[in-house]
């Protein structure tokens, strides 16, 4: 694209579920520090594709590489160890642990060089005062709820916590699966505000159902439809693409706001 290093490359990846081809010969390259998005209607294959990239599904055909290394058959855990971190559509925070403990789990995994003794005898106090954790709680506005158990948080707070945990792992690539679904406008703005702070020094790939939320945020937009990529470029370019215009009404009802005629 513009000479930036590749992070994730998917090469003619196919995934079938019985007779249904959910992802059909998709090739996709994500570059370093790119802020990219994949949108598509329900069933367009975007979440399946996402699961293929992160190792939760094994492709039937094709390969996936990460920074030049073939990771097609690696477990999610091995991919995380290499710097690919994802979030889930349904939040994957731990309900019975406090906010600060959730962050601690993410943080200490990423810094596993710490010895066994430190893992065992790490006190609550030292965790709470860990500069990186404190800083993250500030950034994500979680200071007030730090000792609350996650089950008592609002959905917006849980999402913020989840993204905070993902960032604490210090990944090279941050993969966000519908991070804004089900949130109120103010919460969406606060999450995007936090993510903006990472633009430019973090590779981010977002899968979203609703384009209107992330359109301004994305540098690159890829549209999927029926298991294939039908457009790829800047948001304007992608939306101007004839095939997108044909199927776009299925993707987002706010298409008109993007200046695209709906059929």
């Amino acid at each position: 694209m513009d000479g930036r290093a590749e992070t994730i490359r998917a090469d003619k990846v196919t995934k079938r579920f019985g007779g249904l081809t959910a992802v059909d010969q998709v090739s996709y390259v994500l570059h370093e520090n790119e802020v990219a998005g994949i949108i598509g209607s329900n069933g367009a294959g975007k979440t399946t594709f996402f699961n293929l990239l992160t190792g939760y599904y094994l492709p039937d055909e094709g390969t996936i590489s990460y920074c030049g290394e073939d990771v097609t058959r690696m477990t999610p855990q091995q991919r995380v160890a290499r710097g690919m971190m994802r979030t889930f559509q349904l939040t994957s925070t731990f309900d019975n642990l406090s906010v600060v403990d959730n962050l601690g789990l993410a943080y200490f995994r990423a810094h596993k060089k710490s010895g066994l003794m430190q893992l065992l005898f790490n006190t609550r106090k030292s965790q709470r005062n860990e500069p990186k954790i404190v800083q993250t709680m500030d950034t994500f506005d979680l200071q007030d709820v730090r000792d609350r158990e996650v089950k008592n948080l609002s959905l917006g707070e849980k999402r913020r916590l989840e993204i905070a945990m993902a960032i604490l792992v210090d990944p090279k690539v941050l993969l966000l699966d519908e991070p804004l679904a089900g949130l109120a406008e103010s919460e969406i703005q606060s999450i995007l505000g936090v993510l903006r702070k990472h633009v430019g020094h973090q590779t981010i790939l977002i899968v979203e159902h609703k384009l209107s939320h992330v359109q301004d945020f994305l540098q690159r937009l890829t549209v999927m439809h029926e298991g294939r990529i039908i457009a790829d470029g800047t948001a304007e370019e992608a939306l101007r693409h004839p095939e997108v215009r044909r199927s776009y009404w299925q993707i987002d009802v706010t298409a008109e706001s993007a200046g695209v005629a709906t059929p």
Binding site: R86, F88, L97, G104, L105, A106, L119, N122, V169
Partner: protein, 290 residues
């Protein structure tokens, strides 16, 4: 009618029995909570702990040393079975783990019979001192068992709530996949849990050895109680296991004061009653499918 002067010693006996029950079942409960397996092989480590304590205390004359060796052997055996057996069946249905681990238990009992024979062996009580409590004499050894059980509960609580590894285990009890998603090696957590469980089961068997006689069937004998306790307490809950262990201990001990046959039957009646009132057990959350 019941002789009231027996009541204090009855309660202490119940508590020490509860302590043994707790140490035997806490591993079962942890293994179910994190790995969603029913680890009946814990009853084997219980018997192994008893036999190691017997052998070492005969050889060296020191029961406490035997306990330590028993714990180590139990932990190593637990780890070995986890690596060789459970690792292959985590993905399968829960009943599969129950049948497989029952096979391990039966096989292990055979090994015990091979090495130690069929005859029950007595183990000398290390402390024969008794203290006067409200007019009845209570063996100090019973009090030590209660203290050890409570100490272990405190230790597990600190481990689960204050250490990163413990928190990862608690997180895993909630959702193993998401722990994996953070890049944490859950199989290492599984191994750690099995070692803790095996060690504690062996500790229970070793502590109980002087109070009963060690015999190859001792693990099978405690199994029904272990099941009952885990179910009453609520699957996967450590606190529930502690409470129900002491509850069942009391029911057995005090029940036998009233009417001896009650001792065997009453715990089952309690279980039925509690399950009717609270199907998830005292502290159990609704049974989560992984």
């Amino acid at each position: 009618m019941i002789d009231l002067s027996l009541l204090p010693s009855g309660i202490i006996f119940g508590l020490s029995l509860g302590g043994i029950f707790f140490l035997t079942t806490v591993g079962l409960s942890l293994c179910f909570g994190l790995m969603r397996v029913i680890s009946l092989d814990q009853m084997l480590y219980y018997a192994l702990g008893g036999y190691m304590t017997y052998t070492i205390s005969v050889l060296t004359g020191n029961l406490w040393f035997g306990l330590v060796v028993g714990v180590v052997v139990g932990a190593v055996a637990g780890l070995a079975v986890e690596r060789v057996v459970f690792l292959r069946i985590y993905a399968r249905d829960i009943t599969f783990s129950m049948i497989t681990s029952f096979g391990v238990l039966i096989g292990g009992v055979g090994v015990i019979k091979y090495f130690w024979g069929l005859v029950p062996r007595p183990v000398t009580e290390p402390i024969t001192v008794q203290v006067n409590l409200l007019g009845t004499y209570i063996p100090v050894y019973r009090l030590i068992i209660i203290a050890i059980a409570l100490g272990v509960y405190g230790g597990i609580w600190l481990f689960l709530n204050r250490t990163i590894v413990g928190k990862a285990i608690r997180a895993g009890i909630e959702n193993v996949e998401h722990v994996e998603g953070l890049g944490i090696n859950v199989y290492r957590l599984f191994s750690i849990t099995f070692m803790i469980a095996g060690g504690l089961s062996a500790l229970a068997g070793g502590l109980n050895a002087p109070l009963i006689m060690v015999d190859p069937q001792m693990g099978l004998e405690v199994m029904a109680f272990a099941f009952m306790i885990v179910i009453i307490g609520g699957l996967g809950s450590i606190k529930g296991t502690l409470v129900s262990s002491f509850l069942v201990g009391q029911v057995v001990s005090l029940g036998s004061l009233f009417y001896a046959p009650l001792a065997q039957m009453a715990p089952f009646a309690i279980m039925v009653l509690i399950l009717l009132l609270k199907p998830t057990g005292l502290y159990g959350s609704p049974l989560l499918k992984r």
